[in-house]
Symmetry: C2
Subunit: 338 residues, 2 copies
């Protein structure tokens, strides 16, 4: 059988992206909107997106930098100071998710949550108004390779059982434990990034140190990576693409105190296609990138299509001062713009 | 009881150091000779120290950059092309150890060993002429956190049993498995670095990415680190200090492809003293830094002494273009020069 040379998919959604603000927003947003009709925009700016007013302002800034064909799906940051009233107002303002970062686990999380269980009234309000709880699922202070599994066990599993009406997304899942947890709880889904379908800790520290493969949660073992691939290509109803594309200018990566984050937006669909292709399941890719997430969020599926062609190309080393995922490597698929 | 404020020790030995060559040798060697009477000098230069002639030349270069009070203990690099004749000639030339790097595991190991067991005649020659086999104990291709334990199991343990007359040093031990192995084999010792008494993987990738804590073998779990500390302070007859001080200019660390190595020579005794002090076993430090290694190598103990004082000081951020271990941190002990 001849290999598939063209792949046409429903216009996809990115269920986790850092679009930044100011000049960086303008520099990077194109890489998202050319491939995704909608994207769930993370709120960890400085200062963060905390309230309905912030949602309006940030949405306006994004809309100003993009086209009306792109729909930013807005989020607020859940902190120890978030109240049920703030949640309801943000939902009114169109925020579809509240993102919770435990304190200190990643970029701009110094004001993250310290008292998870004290937020129960907030979680109930989210459930009642249909706002998704989006989790950076890592326990601060735990050994870096165990932080995700620990958080799932300590927080996500009990919360999922205790509030079955609350829909929870474990963001950027990196472990076999996350896949297992999603399987066990019908109200829990997870996003998987393109880069976590490729990377393990070996890519970060196994050869020379590679700051451009450094992200949070850190890429884990080969077994974890393989379980993520299996989950992504499985057609699971609650597992979907969230790129976690997180651009940092090169000097913030190649320094004494490197920022966490992989800028994968420029190669998101292409790298995902390569994984599905390798496992001969390209026919399941649409589910992962364009259907499962929308269904979990209760949003209509996109209309319109995107086409990828089997076409070898080399990823640039530098895009707007940021080094993209797979920089300098050859990819086998090339996406047309939406 | 008043805390000890002065610590006088027999002049110490560093059983593993990278002194480099050319300008870097001149820039860094002072940090070694001010604290150590002797140091086992690693042979992985470019080109490497392979033969008796290389030993003579490298020793002369080091002597040219130092004082006669400092004795460089020379090594050759064991490669697939090393022969029993080369070993015997190098031993004649004064090399006390042959250092074996598996191919590709660390800086300048592209010409490392591919066929470990083919070297049995070389190992026998080393045994017969009293040359120590010094091992970078990591199996290439294995997951980075498991490489050391794998190599110990695959190679060191069988070799130690099969050639009981060969003395083997597992260099820069990073795991509980290494400590266990040394315990089990009377012909196997290990060096422990100052930084592996402090670091875990959390210090490398647990917060912001820290290239200055990146070394090979990579720092492991908290349990591994704690077992190394226990072993170092235990007074074990075959466990001794080897700094693995490995200076790289800052631009080679803070880049897209960072070199492995921690420049700990400038704070070697001070950081070790802090560990022994914390465990109230300063009286055992002399064994670790000045006695156990010499006895294992069959060399006379040094005469002369070095004094450390309890005195708070801040480690410079930059020494000759290289960032030292503990840069910017306060230490509680300060070593006088030999």
């Amino acid at each position: 059988m001849d290999p598939i040379t063209t792949l046409t998919l429903r216009a996809p959604d990115d269920w986790h992206v850092h679009l930044r603000d100011g000049p960086m927003l303008k520099a990077v947003v194109w890489h998202t909107i050319k491939q995704f009709r909608r994207a769930l925009v993370m709120p960890n700016l400085t200062p963060p997106v905390l309230t309905a007013d912030d949602v309006h302002a940030y949405r306006a800034e994004i809309q100003d930098a993009t086209f009306p064909t792109f729909e930013p799906l807005m989020t607020i940051k859940i902190t120890d100071r978030t109240t049920p009233e703030i949640v309801r107002a943000a939902r009114e303002a169109g925020a579809v998710a509240g993102k919770l970062y435990p304190e200190g686990v990643t970029t701009n999380s110094e004001d993250g949550v310290r008292s998870f269980w004290d937020l129960r009234p907030v979680f109930c309000a989210m459930r009642d108004c249909g706002m998704i709880l989006s989790l950076h699922a890592e326990t601060p202070g735990v050994f870096v390779m165990d932080r995700e599994a620990n958080f799932l066990h300590q927080y996500v599993s009990p919360l999922a059982v205790s509030l079955p009406g609350l829909r929870i997304v474990v963001e950027h899942a990196t472990s076999a434990a996350a896949v297992r947890l999603v399987d066990e709880h019908p109200n829990v889904g997870c996003t998987i990034t393109p880069h976590h379908l490729y990377l393990t800790l070996d890519d970060v520290v196994g050869g020379a140190l590679n700051p451009h493969a450094f992200c949070k949660p850190i890429a884990k073992t080969h077994r974890d990576r393989d379980e993520l691939v299996k989950a992504a290509i499985s057609g699971h109803p609650r597992i979907f693409l969230g790129t976690d594309s997180a651009p940092h200018v090169i000097v913030k990566k190649e320094c004494a105190s490197g920022c966490a984050g992989v800028f994968c937006a420029p190669v998101a669909l292409e790298t995902v296609a390569e994984v599905f292709d390798r496992h001969s399941v390209l026919h399941r890719m649409e589910h992962f990138v364009a259907e499962a997430g929308a269904k979990f969020y209760g949003l209509p599926l996109n209309t319109g299509q995107i086409t990828l062609r089997r076409e070898t190309w080399r990823v640039p080393e530098d895009l707007q001062g940021v080094r993209p995922f797979m920089a300098g490597k050859e990819l086998a698929w090339k996406s047309r713009s939406l």
